[in-house]
Every structure is written in structure tokens, then in C-alpha cells.
Symmetry: C2
Subunit: 111 residues, 2 copies
């Protein structure tokens, strides 16, 4: 498998689409709420403070992107993180932002 070959136009659109899915605070809240494991929708609605309709939509989006997986059990539907790269991705971005913010604080209060 090559490592740095340039991506095709189609591949770029896929990558962009994936980033777009992660570009919504509510979806990040949902992902974060699922870091500790599976949860049902009502639970996620409470955890995120969103409306049921909105949470349901975002869960759809995340599932369609193969980031979450669904498991139905009776009346309830349980969601979980199904893509193991997601936590790493979030860590990377958080780390990068921390550095960036630290730099900015440095600018505000220079030695």
C-alpha cells in the first residue's frame, strides 16, 4: 500500500465528506457521550441537551458515515462508536488546538 500518493478527485470528496460529518458540535457531543460505550437515544438526548428529533438526525448522519453503529433492542436503539480511528482523530485535533491556544495565551501575556 502506497503511503503518500496523491488522492483522486473522488477520494478527496470522500475525505472531505468525512470531515464534514465531524464538523458539527452536536455530533461531536454525541461521539463524546459514546466514548464510554453504548447508549440509547433517550439517554443521548439527555446527555447532549438536544431535542429528540435533532439527535436522531445526527445519529443517522453518523451511522451513514460508518462512524457509529446501531443495535436495536425492543423499543430502544443503542448506538456505539464503530470506527476505531475516531478517538485518535479527536485526540490529534485536540492536541493541535491545545498547542495553538497555548501559543495565543503566550502572545497575550508575553514575558
Amino acid at each position: 500500500m502506497a503511503k503518500h500518493r496523491p488522492l483522486s478527485e473522488d477520494a478527496l470528496q470522500l475525505v472531505a465528506a468525512r470531515f464534514a460529518v465531524l464538523a458539527e458540535p452536536m455530533r461531536l457531543r454525541l461521539i463524546q457521550a459514546l466514548f464510554d460505550g453504548e447508549r440509547n437515544v433517550t439517554d443521548l438526548v439527555e446527555a447532549t441537551g438536544g431535542t429528540q428529533a435533532n439527535v436522531s438526525r445526527h445519529l443517522q448522519t453518523l451511522t451513514a458515515a460508518h462512524i457509529l453503529a446501531r443495535r436495536k433492542e425492543g423499543l430502544q436503539v443503542f448506538y456505539r462508536i464503530s470506527d476505531p480511528t475516531i478517538p485518535k482523530l479527536c485526540e490529534l485535533v485536540c492536541g493541535s488546538l491545545e498547542k495553538s491556544l497555548t501559543r495565543q495565551i503566550g502572545h497575550l501575556a508575553p514575558g
Copy 2:
């Protein structure tokens, strides 16, 4: 520094904003074109096939997000990747997508 503490609402918005910057094919094309090093705008316009105006705007966006850095030299402006996590981020996403696509191909042509 804690590793998995839940992010504040502000932090979530920052993370989302960062993902949003990466959620445009043209911007990914620009980033990709800069993997091998610094380039000026005209060069990037040719490499990506976009209009000058549009490329300039996207370069602005990427620079404002501290993903790229600018260096002016005479008439030309050279851009380069300034955030070292960007290549890793792209690798992660690409790897995840490859797996996902491989699975889908498997579904189309099952054993």
C-alpha cells in the same frame, strides 16, 4: 494533562470549526499540493485547477486556521503547511476510508 476529560462547549466548537476547515475538497487539494513543500499562489492555482480568486480565499481560510503559513517574497506569496498534525490526520482518515471501501467491495463480490 488529562487525556479523556469531556470537552467544554467552547472546545467542542473549536474542534468542529477545525474539522469544517478540512471539509472542503478544494482545501484538501491545496493541502495535498503542499505536502512536498512550499508553493506560491499561481503555482497552486495551476495545480488545483481552481480560479485565482477562489484559491486565494481558501488559502486565507487555511491560514486563519493555522494550518498553513504565509511567506511573502517580492510579488509572490508562498504557502506551506504549518501544522504537523495535518498529514497524520489525513492518513488516519484515508486509512479508515480504505477499510470502509474494502468492506463495501467485499459486499459487492462476496465469496
